[in-house]
Symmetry: D2
Subunit: 403 residues, 4 copies
């Protein structure tokens, strides 16, 4: 396949080894100007330090850094949480939720600088390539997409380092890197190393942020979370922005070993992979939101929210954020979220976040109904009628078969 | 409403205060013979001790005790586990799963003794009345059903005790009982008392079986579980029957504080209730089965299994076990279970059961695919084609709108 | 059960035999003032003629007639159509959709006149009692609800006529009425008579509005329908309000025998019933909307819309319009409806409405892609990559089993 | 990409232009022996006439013709019908259902002749390539797959004819062929020509089998269909095999213009296409099966069957027949089918097949319940209790908001 002609490409740049190679590779192979786009999604000051200089040193003509932290939590994470999305029952979708916002900001950057192409540093085996390119297809189908990992023949860190060395591009990356990691404000993922065999238990190196339950405090700690429309609006009595609340809860969660999962998951591209994910603050948030829902949602609404969660998890994981289907599901869950207001106390202890107290002005829990004494609101004789009609089809069916 | 005429009624008898009152009440109000049916579903030797004598002392003409423990785990719990059913995301359905097997055995007893009616001791506010009568409707619609709690005007323990005392029927029940409990081999539930206000945290009295995470061992313990067709067949190297495996894992779980949940749930009859449930062994089993599924089920099968779990949870909770729909869903999950074979190591520590190692001959995880080096099995260029077609509709849609 | 005390009740009044009896019965049995509320939902001038006089003659203190025709089509029928709701695959929900709007207007009337109770004339066997009382529960749980058919002991038309005669209340109702009918702008239903045996075919008397296919015109006729956001906005080149469009299409449909169905359906209350429904204009509308959707919705959106349709059909049928779940589902379908714009030509012939031509500015159909010649937009080699990844799990699974 | 080495390939051969070219092309480009495999799925004697000679003349070393007609109807079509699958609400999946059985038989042929590769004549834009290769992946992942249409550079009928002429291979195919067709016992599809623009109505040439409603008989005809376990076992009083029943009903349907649909559908590969499908007998069968289901399935079972139908339609359309998910869904629908026994009379008239009479020993329709007179089986007062509990959550919610 002959390469397309491009003049100016915006690459999603992280400052790591891969994207450092991509800049010169794009210039050499496409004979084009390369603009580096760096998304700050809360991956940490360390990763962002000196990123602009690095990009220029690698050959970028310009560098743009966009602070997406508040927007990511408010516009991507909170809507996802309202759906209840947990991929394959466990994964809080930390990497998945970051991709669409990065791609969207990268497209905006491309429009601003008049680029005609977009590039990313995802490999050809993972989900992220689909998430980036799925977003590009929805937002900028007119721009070319370049995925160097699927084109070049570099296949190891050593070759990448050699590539940079030959071009005198400085790089502090080490030759060996056992684990592959991805971090943002919400989570950090770890893949590779001992995790590549499912019969290996994760070791200490597989966890990057959180204390182990064993090392976590021997004293439980309690946080109080205020919820409005299924969003966290205050913690421990203090109003907080979405990103502030997440940071606050991350700190708590890290200390108590909260939010570790070790999962073998189905990638969209047909294979399984295994990863360790840490989502300390997010796990606490999820527990709080689900606890308020317990008070507020009626039976059939709760069931539908569970179904929405299963669907949304797949859509978000699969890079389908910017699709009519994902918008429809978010509209449905936003509707259910209107009543999800309340307050929850979460106990943090040795790896577990557990809602111990909860209340809501919208609570359908009604002590007068639930208790066993006399009451005026509920006439027990109604139950007979309910049961008779509820089981009428069963009754007719068996009576038929007895004829 | 005039009472139906019945000659001989089989009552589901537990030996507790309620069903002790029901026997004389039935005799007096229906002028009929009363047969006591006791189901041993693993509620414990203490509860069953002297139950036959008690029933006779209360006025039963005959007493039948049926050992349903193995059958319950094999025929009711294992099929439920295969669906992944977790009611409202949390509850392992311990009470719900016991009701259909008790009702079925009670109906068989009624057929054997030639009874023309069935009675149970469930109140008019709960789910259990629906579960019993739903099963009766499906299995014996020709028999009358008597639900004394919905008929009589006894509304307190004191009145029940007086009722027995007036008739010189011995009863060891205490005047006050703060919590309402239900136990079987799978779980114990606790309702009432401080739990009646959702803003109260559960106290130590709310937990009947398990140690608290704080009191649990400071040393993690590991169990190895062998799974065939999504059933536990051996633990720690020893083949075990379903009930044996459950008992073994219950002991482990109790020590490590595993399987506590505190939930506000939607009852079928339209109100919410709050309960603390302990399912120590079951929680370990569930973790093991889900871990093998992670290896074995492909993406769309996994998603369908999750949907089946949501549906099955509602059906089982709602007392719909003996319906064509429940049979259909179980047929679907049995089909998916055929490949769910493997071995899992579960770490037990301070309230958590966590699968740390897992393997399966049917595993779709394939190290050769998942790793990042060179390989022959997966051609990264295929990803481009995949992504192009996968996002084609998005592309066309946006190109349209740009026209 | 002792009767509640009420002072002023608003009854949903139709002018028919049942509700004519209800007015004096309420006055005698509840010693209360009775206000008649008449909803004009397009049931026809004949049914409404003299309805106010009749109500007063029956003993109503006041009569209110509310014209709900446009609102019903715009706010109840169009949202339902967007979900694709077809109950049990066939029924266009004509009676179901009318109940919530009548109940809502009746509640508003009750608020305006300061009533403390609501009454309806639905029998104790049907769905409508649940629909009315479900709406009352959601909109006015503080008002008492009286359902005379479940209270009184009148069981035949003869007894009802006698009841009126004894009180000198004039009534033109006939002694025998073979079929039970319900009509509004959207549809007319027919139950009873020969339909009570499912092995009887419907006869000519079972159809009230439409010509039979045999009697319908031998010439096909075509109508052109313009659709915006999944609503009909113009027909045959003329802008029309929702109600106008429905009336116009009803006239066409009646002539061509469109929209007859004969169904045995599951009532909410556990039994099956059989009915003949005629929805001439609605059937044409549905065909038009579905045809535009074919052009506009991508594969997974279409599938979700189908799922929404199944869910919405049950919710609407079951009288759950004013619930958070129904609102959530409508929010989801409104979201999908945003792109559903276009134009459709429908052929009407001998009982069938068939979309023969369709176009849309949002169409994802793209001749360049779909045809078999050379093209630049679609690279056939992409298909290989797509298929390889799409079937990768199958491949791994079988390779495993061949080991 | 370098070509794989193969020694012997089995090609799915139809005798048409495409597959006639494929045989010499495979020999020349892969230097291998080519075995022609012909599946008789009821495409008609005309298409099969002389097919063996043609294959040999094209260069095949061997030809195998497999009669799959009965197996296709019994093992593929009937299970699909039980799920209720209708792709995108309309399409009876005629082409989709034929692909897995052909692929399976082709694999068996390959095993028998010791081939190491499989080939098919599907283009790179359609669904059929995915269906064939999806089946191959599940049944024979060890065999190579060759898809000539995605490899060669022939892009028109003219080039294909030239290719054969240059090699002196006789071919009776015409230079121009406006419509692309695919036929089997179940259906015939027509694509291309005027259909390529969605604003064109189909003309007479778009329909290959059925009379138009206008030309169809002016007299209605009735067929009586006996159903057991949701399969057609007899028609008009005569026991018939699955294939015989289909043929009999095809003849009837053709005469009455039954089973025409004109649809724009979402292909799996991301684009939309438009086709006219004729499924005369199948449409009648579907109407009969759905009619018995109306009598037999309870409300929630019916709803689940509808959901299964939506899912199954996508799976079958998408070539996922041989997957655990499809097996699971078929297991679920087989379970529901156990009670679907009965008899139906279908009226055929001017393009419509309408069930007019239906009965079943398993019918849940019960005249005594459904009628409006006095009865003993149903106590109307039960409805009050049912409604109170059914709407309790609504009541509590609104009472809360009124506080």
């Amino acid at each position: 396949m002959s390469k397309v002609e491009v003049k100016k490409v915006v690459v999603a740049y992280s400052g790591g080894l891969d994207t450092s190679v991509i800049i010169p590779w794009l210039k050499e192979n496409y004979d084009c100007e390369v603009v580096a786009f760096v998304a700050d999604v809360g991956q940490g000051a360390e990763e962002l330090e000196g990123v602009e200089e690095k990009a220029i040193a690698s050959g970028a003509s310009e560098v743009y850094v966009a602070d997406l932290k508040e927007e990511m939590v408010k516009e991507y994470i909170y809507p996802s949480l309202k759906t209840g999305a947990l991929y394959e029952g466990k994964y809080l979708l930390g990497t998945s939720m970051a991709r669409p916002i990065i791609a969207k900001a990268q497209v905006e950057c491309a429009r601003n600088v008049g680029a005609d192409a977009l590039a990313h540093g995802c490999t050809g085996k993972g989900n992220d390539q689909v998430r980036f390119e799925g977003a590009f297809a929805a937002l900028a189908p007119d721009l070319h997409v370049i995925a160097p990992w699927r084109e070049w023949d570099l296949v190891s860190r050593e070759e990448c380092l050699d590539y940079l060395a030959e071009r005198n591009i400085p790089c502090s990356a080490s030759l060996t890197k056992i684990y592959s990691r991805d971090a943002n404000a919400w989570h950090i993922s770890t893949e590779g190393g001992v995790l590549e065999q499912t019969w290996n238990a994760p070791n200490d190196d597989c966890w990057a942020w959180t204390k182990s339950p064993e090392e976590a405090s021997n004293e439980a700690e309690y946080v109080t979370i205020k919820v409005e429309k299924c969003e966290v609006v205050a913690v421990d009595g203090k109003d907080m922005s979405p990103y502030e609340a997440l940071m606050y809860l991350n700190d708590k969660g890290v200390e108590h070993g909260i939010g570790r999962i070790d999962i073998v998951e189905n990638r969209l591209v047909g294979m399984k992979s295994r990863g360790c994910y840490e989502t300390p603050g997010g796990t606490i948030m999820m527990e709080a939101l689900r606890a308020v829902e317990q008070l507020v949602l009626d039976k059939s609404s709760f069931e539908f929210r569970e179904e929405l969660g299963v669907k949304a998890a797949h859509l978000i994981y699969d890079g389908r954020w910017f699709t009519p289907l994902c918008e429809s599901i978010i509209a449905a869950s936003e509707s259910l979220a209107q009543d999800v207001n309340g307050e929850v106390v979460i106990k943090l202890y040795k790896g577990q976040a557990t809602a111990t107290q909860k209340r809501s002005d919208n609570s359908l829990y009604c002590e007068a109904f639930a208790t066993f004494g006399e009451d005026e609101v509920y006439d027990q004789s109604h139950a007979e009628g309910f049961i008779r009609l509820y089981s009428l089809a069963s009754r007719i069916r068996t009576l038929n078969s007895q004829k």
